[in-house]
Symmetry: C2
Subunit: 110 residues, 2 copies
Amino acid sequence: MSNSKLYKGSLNTIILQLLNQHDKMYGYEITQKVKALTKGELNITEGALYPALHKLEAEGLLDVEVAKVDNRLRKYYKLTETGTKETVNKLEELAEYIRTMQALVNPKLA
Amino acid sequence: MSNSKLYKGSLNTIILQLLNQHDKMYGYEITQKVKALTKGELNITEGALYPALHKLEAEGLLDVEVAKVDNRLRKYYKLTETGTKETVNKLEELAEYIRTMQALVNPKLA
DNA sequence: AATTTATACATAATTAACTTATGCATAATC
DNA sequence: GATTATGCATAAGTTAATTATGTATAAATT
């Protein structure tokens, strides 16, 4: 995912927010979108992504729709209602994390 | 550590930066300082902290000095030269992480 | 034409950073 | 006298990742 361990725990947030912005996406598309948006900084590995998608689906945060394009399989994921709510929570947690870490690292600004 | 999984991977950064700011600290002091700086948001558990300190010491990033205060044991940790350099790296990684996540979450600002 | 790269999914074994639970010991507070 | 605070430690379990495979089709390169 990255040479930095800080991304550990961020994958669900990333997936949910991308689906929040793009309505429906398939796995491979997510990896490419992340790579593009981060200018190569962050590469989501398939071994992390697919299990994460399956889990989010099992938890009822995502719905799946299978499609066949150019004779190749695609699984489009989109947020459920619950998923949309959870996305809000995740984004709040990210903002809180950033505030907290900045308070720790730069306590003069606190 | 927190209800948010995002803190996973951040503990070393926190420890190193606190020691960067306070010269020498002991374990319990670190837990209290983190609690204070984050207004209770983040509580470092002992089960996470002590193994982390031992590992950083084993890696040569920290030096230890044992002291006895009020008949109680304290282990003061301080950064080695290598530890100081690694702190710079960790802080850069944190800044990079924050930039990257903001690019993902708020791509309009990118 | 043959090989490599890109697209697209998946899982299994391993690693690592935590959590949770427990343990020991002294000092201070209620 | 019992609880809370101070101060260290480790062991078992969880979980999110990495690393390594595996399958299959389409496109690009040599």
